[in-house]
């Protein structure tokens, strides 16, 4: 037996994302954001996308290209703090925004990847974030039902991958990537380094390749991945 090869070209794999897709996007700030996949998605121009991401990147970076291009119908996010364009798109009604507490967004995605229906949590009780949510009593205490969240597609960024799709991450470039890499029908990983089978130690494969559908090797690490000089 031999594990299958899942490497593919950037253009070909992004072309498989349809209009209207729910797309999970890794990254917290710059680290772990799949900038190259996002650029190709902006170039191909798929529309009516629902994006799920920790933040909205900064103006002129990452998913801001998709927002600017009017490709994003809805954004599920924990905060927009650094992107005035995204806040404007929300305030002007050009883009629907659903806010989620950061760790609860992580857990909802994880629950999707774990094949669960939902989690029950008291996070957000007594706040606006509880509004409109299903409440369940547990041992006499109210708990919010936070439904599992899955993508049609997940776009993740890895430091290293083998051609079966085992992924390894660098430093704080993990963030939402290992969770999203389990939680979509079609998981697409871009990788800085693409290794042959056996190139990632089985103890170091943070995202097992069995969850990954496609692996794209980045030709170069563009400026977007670099240090931000504000």
């Amino acid at each position: 037996m031999k594990l299958p090869d899942k490497s593919i070209a950037m253009e070909e794999v992004v072309a498989q994302i349809p209009d209207g897709a729910t797309v999970l996007v890794g990254g917290f700030g710059v680290p772990g954001t799949p900038f190259a996949l996002l650029r190709e998605l902006a170039r191909q121009g798929q529309r009516d996308l629902v994006l799920v991401k920790n933040d909205a990147n900064e103006a002129g970076m990452g998913i801001d290209h998709l927002i600017a291009g009017g490709q994003v119908r809805k954004l599920i996010v924990t905060h927009l703090g650094l992107n005035a364009n995204a806040i404007a798109a929300m305030n002007e009604g050009r883009m629907e925004v659903e806010f989620c507490a950061q760790g609860i967004l992580a857990e909802r995605i994880r629950a999707g990847g774990a094949g669960l229906g939902a989690i029950l949590t008291d996070i957000g009780i007594d706040t606006e974030l509880a509004q409109g949510k299903q409440v369940v009593e547990m041992n006499g205490r109210p708990m919010l039902v936070e439904p599992a969240l899955r993508g049609d597609v997940a776009l993740v960024h890895a430091a290293r991958a083998d051609c079966f799709g085992n992924l390894a991450y660098a430093a704080t470039a993990r963030n939402f990537n290992p969770l999203m890499a389990m939680a979509a029908t079609r998981v697409i990983a871009e990788t800085e380094e693409l290794l042959p089978l056996g190139g990632i130690d089985p103890d170091a494969a943070e995202s097992p390749g069995a969850f990954i559908d496609h692996v794209v090797k980045l030709d170069a690490i563009s400026e977007e991945y670099g240090i931000v000089r504000r």
Binding site: M1, L3, A114, G115, L197, P202
Partner: protein
């Protein structure tokens, strides 16, 4: 292994298509890998936290930290990955497991499976069987057609506590290959030397026959 069992295992091995992620139940199902070509592209999953199961090792070469869910000392292959029990069953429940091949005490004509408990006799707990049976994309059973007393295991309905309801798609036995259809059991193939009468007598529910000659395995 008897000749009939060997042929059952070899026939069941053809369930495995290139690129699949597969979980093989403890015991006989693990033997199907012996019938795959050396470079066949498949990913075997073990619920204790391993994808890419390599060959079983003799004890003198075993790694004390590397077992499969049945406790056999297995090995890795290039591209194997280790993970914890939560990730392992995340894979099962989220639709990443293309196929599971399980043993059975009883299978009903509606696809119900009972394979974990015999009240008053055998109740060691279900382990991971319920999730495998309930969530693998395709659930296939491999079992002797009858129990040790000669009673049929393919039944109109299960009498034992269920593992999963309506999930079995196909059954490989030492006597036949049987599909579970919306109309109940349908014979797909017969083992060499088994007659129509014998298979009907050994099956505890109506069995639709294929049109024309019955294929043999």
């Amino acid at each position: 292994m008897s000749d009939a069992r060997s042929r059952m295992v070899a026939r069941a091995a053809r369930e495995i298509a290139p690129g699949m992620v597969v979980n093989l139940g403890i015991g006989l199902p693990t033997k199907v890998v012996n019938h795959l070509p050396a470079d066949f592209p498949v990913c075997l999953h073990s619920e204790n936290g391993l994808t890419g199961i390599g060959p079983t090792l003799p004890l003198e070469r075993a790694d004390r930290n590397l077992i499969d869910a049945g406790g056999a000392y297995v090995s890795t292959i290039p591209g194997s990955a280790f993970f914890d029990s939560a990730v392992s069953f995340a894979l099962v429940r989220s639709g990443r497991l293309d196929l599971t091949l399980l043993g059975a005490f009883e299978v009903a004509q509606n696809g119900d499976l009972a394979n974990w408990k015999i009240p008053g006799k055998f109740s060691p707990g279900a382990g991971g069987a319920i999730e495998l049976a309930q969530k693998a994309r395709r659930v296939v059973v491999m079992t002797t057609h009858c129990d040790r007393k000669g009673n049929p295991k393919l039944l109109e309905s299960c009498s034992l506590p269920l593992t999963a309801k309506g999930r079995v798609a196909r059954i490989y036995t030492d006597m036949a290959v049987v599909d579970v259809t919306a109309q109940g059991f349908a014979l797909v193939e017969l083992a060499e030397g088994i007659s129509e009468t014998e298979i009907r007598e050994a099956t505890g529910a109506p069995l639709a026959l294929p049109q024309g000659d019955i294929p043999r395995f």
